[in-house]
């Protein structure tokens, strides 16, 4: 473990450390240092977070899965959590993050993976799945997207979305003031007071300085808004590939999610993947794990039990 990571772990408030008792592990992936948790034995379940969270988001989701005898792997995407945080924008690309995940999955030689994707864990995780289909058993998809246009109507608005990551404004608002990791998550959970009391410090503590928050404004810049966007072709490939996929899939959505609202986004995944189960609606806005983490874990556990029962 590097000194930076030791310091970040030690800086977490005791109340937060008590919620995250897992042994930190590190791998060199695609030229970066990635932190991950690897607990339990049995069939592997990989939990992939997005912006601006880290593995801590899955703390309650992990418990039913571990209790049911699964092996649970929780990476921190490079740029977040206890992973290395590159300081140049060019270090972060959609394809690069997929390559980071691919490197970890190959180093751990994971087979028959159940991939649980949230937010940017969707485009990165699903791209990994399409590029490495022999390693994947099933998918669980929540509050994300897999097509080029449009993202959410929210993402096309100048106020507040495009303003907060616009040139110079991103480094000021999301970097200098950390508004996404602070108030941004807070506004996107249902039980805000519980979140503030029990979890907010965990997200803020691992992104303590403006330079450490780079990915919080770079990820939004990778959302295609028109056909000239640099990730447009990758998302078009993702949509085509997912439309042809046959993996057993479970959709879980936050009932109160206003950004990736269930009718628009879960509905589109239903049309794309008619064999998918769900969507199961749980209490939650975009960061639904904060309100319904254990329930989500139980839904994934039961989904996998059904797959086991039919030998899938």
């Amino acid at each position: 473990m590097t000194p930076t990571s030791i310091q970040q772990l030690q800086d977490l408030p005791a109340q937060i450390r008590a919620q995250w008792p897992h042994r930190p592990r590190f791998a060199s992936v695609n030229g970066w240092r990635m932190h991950y948790v690897d607990e339990g034995h049995g069939s592997p379940v990989v939990l992939l977070h997005g912006n601006p969270t880290w593995g801590f988001l899955w703390r309650e989701t992990m418990k039913p899965l571990l209790a049911a005898g699964h092996r649970v792997i929780v990476p921190d995407q490079v740029g977040f959590g206890l992973s290395e945080k590159p300081t140049r924008e060019g270090a972060h690309s959609l394809d690069g993050h997929t390559a980071n995940l691919t490197a970890l999955m190959r180093q751990l030689d994971l087979q028959r993976i159940t991939l649980v994707c949230h937010d940017w864990g969707g485009p990165t995780g699903l791209s990994f799945a399409l590029a490495n289909p022999h390693r994947v058993r099933a998918l669980v998809i929540m509050s994300t997207w897999a097509w080029p246009l449009p993202p959410a109507e929210f993402h096309t608005r100048v106020f507040p979305w495009r303003l907060i990551h616009a040139p110079l404004l991103g480094p000021y608002l999301l970097g200098r003031h950390g508004v996404l990791v602070g108030r941004g998550i807070y506004l996107s959970v249902v039980d805000r007071e519980r979140f503030r009391a029990t979890a907010q410090a965990a997200y803020e503590a691992v992104l303590p300085d403006p330079a450490t928050r780079l990915l919080t404004w770079v990820w939004p810049r990778w959302i295609p808004l028109d056909g000239t966007a640099r990730a447009f072709d990758r998302f078009a490939w993702l949509e085509q590939g997912m439309s042809r996929s046959a993996w057993p899939t479970l959709l879980i959505w936050g009932r109160e999610d206003e950004v990736f609202d269930p009718p628009t986004f879960a509905g589109r995944f239903q049309r794309m993947l008619p064999h998918a189960e769900g969507p199961h609606l749980v209490t939650g806005r975009h960061f639904l794990q904060e309100d319904s983490g254990a329930e989500i874990g139980a839904l994934v556990r039961d989904f996998l039990s059904r797959l086991d029962a039919r030998g899938a």
Partner: protein, 131 residues
């Protein structure tokens, strides 16, 4: 969000340059790059000299334009405060000045970007400078 003005030849003796904000991808929304190119005549002068602006505190900020092969110039931008050489900067003052400079930039970029939306964003996220 006012009182930002371009300064042609600021007095720099006894000052040091301290970076306070950096943007790697000025062209993410092309109108932002175009604003700086237009305002500081960059298509003509290129990297020959930085831009200087004075902020509400009276401090001068230098805008260092960054080029990157294969990309329109300027590709990036660094904002530095010209501080007294041996004195620490007043962080809150710098923060207020940066907010004013950002408002000046948004006003210059123009629609659909607006200073009113910027102010509303500041209030939504409870920035001290926007209250």
């Amino acid at each position: 969000m006012s009182k930002v003005a371009i300064v042609r030849d600021p007095a720099l003796t006894g000052k040091r340059r301290q970076p306070v904000l950096a943007e790697d991808r000025l062209l993410h929304y092309p109108e932002f790059r175009q604003f700086f190119a237009r305002t500081f005549d960059l298509d003509r002068i290129g990297l020959a000299q930085p831009g200087y602006v004075s902020a509400p505190s009276g401090m001068v900020y230098v805008l260092m334009f960054v080029g990157r092969s294969g990309e329109p110039f300027p590709a990036g931008l660094e904002v530095h405060v010209m501080a007294d050489a041996l004195e620490p900067v007043d962080e809150q003052m710098v923060d207020r000045d940066l907010w004013a400079i950002l408002g000046w930039m948004i006003a210059g970029v123009g629609p659909p970007w607006s200073v009113a939306d910027l102010a509303e964003t500041g209030r939504l996220y409870r920035l001290p400078v926007a209250q």
